[in-house]
Symmetry: C2
Amino acid sequence: MKKSLGPRTIPFPAPVWVVGSYDAAGRPNMMTASWVGICCSRPPCIAVSLRQGRYSHANLVARGAFTVSVPSREHVKVVDYWGIVSGRDEDKLARSGLTTARSALVDAPYVAAFPAVMECRVLHTLELGSHTQFVGEILDVKVDEALLGSDGQPDFDRLALFVYADEYRAVGGIVAQAFSIGKEI
Amino acid sequence: MKKSLGPRTIPFPAPVWVVGSYDAAGRPNMMTASWVGICCSRPPCIAVSLRQGRYSHANLVARGAFTVSVPSREHVKVVDYWGIVSGRDEDKLARSGLTTARSALVDAPYVAAFPAVMECRVLHTLELGSHTQFVGEILDVKVDEALLGSDGQPDFDRLALFVYADEYRAVGGIVAQAFSIGKEI
C-alpha cells in the first residue's frame, strides 16, 4: 500500500556534482548541485538547475559557460561545504584548500583534484520557478588517467562516487550489467 | 593528469527510473530512462529526456502526463528489459509479469510493485537534438508504507535503489550527513 507524501522533491537518488564558474571579477566559484542530470546524447548535453539567488547563477548567465566537476567520496566534506555557503559571503576556494584549473574550451574553472570534469557551454536557459535550468553542451569530458581502466574507460570502482539520497551514500558494487541482463526476459 | 575522452555522455552516475504512459489505445507502456533528474524545488519538477523515436515519446506528447516509477534492486532485470525493448514491438507489461495502477492525478500508469512513484503533468517540452526533454510538475510522490521510517520519510536502506554507472550499481551505505558535515570547514 502506497502512502501519499504530497507534491515535493525526493532524491531517489540525485547526483552530487560541483558547478564551476567565474564571477564578474574573474574569481572562480564552485557550487554543489543535485538538481542535475544528463539530458541529451547528440549533442551530449547536461542540465543543471540553480536557484535564481545563487552567486553562480549570475556567473552562468554572464559567461555562458560552466563546468561540472565530479567528486569522489574523499571530497565529501568540501562538497557539502560548497553546497551550504555562498561565494558571495566567503572565499569558498581558499577555505577548501583546493585549487582550480582554467578550462581551455570554455570560460569556466574546474576542480583540479576531482576525478572528472565536463566542460560545457550554455545552450538553453529555462525558468521553472525557484530554479533556472541551464542546459549545457558537453564539449569535453576529462578523467584522471589513473582512474581509467585498461579499456581506456572510467573505472567506477576507483572513481568512488557518491549520490544524494537524504544522506550522501556511496555508489557501491555492481548489481547487474546494463543493456544485458534484460535480454533474459 | 586528466585525459580527454571527447564530447560525450558518461553517467557519473545517472538515476535509473521508469517512465509510465498510456498509448493511443490506452495501453500502459513502461520505458526505462537515465537521462533524467529533479530540476526545480518550487514547483517540484522533474526532467525526463526521451529519444524522439521512442514509443513513449508520442504518448507523453499526446497525454501531457507521465509517471516516474522508482525501482529497487530486486527489479533490475525487468528494468533493463524495459530499456532495451520497445512497446511498439512487444507487450512489455505482459512479459514482465508486473501490473500497473492508474494514477488518480494524471493520465498515466505506474508500476504497482515498485517502491515509489512520482505523478507528473508536462509543463515544458524542449527539443535538444537526439532527445526531447519533458519537464513535469510533480503533483504527488507516493511511497510504499512499509518502506517509510518512523519519521514518515523514505528509509533509503530499505528502498534498495540502484544507479547507472556503465553497470547498474547499488546505492550503498551512508558516507556523510548532507547539509551537515560541511559545517566543520
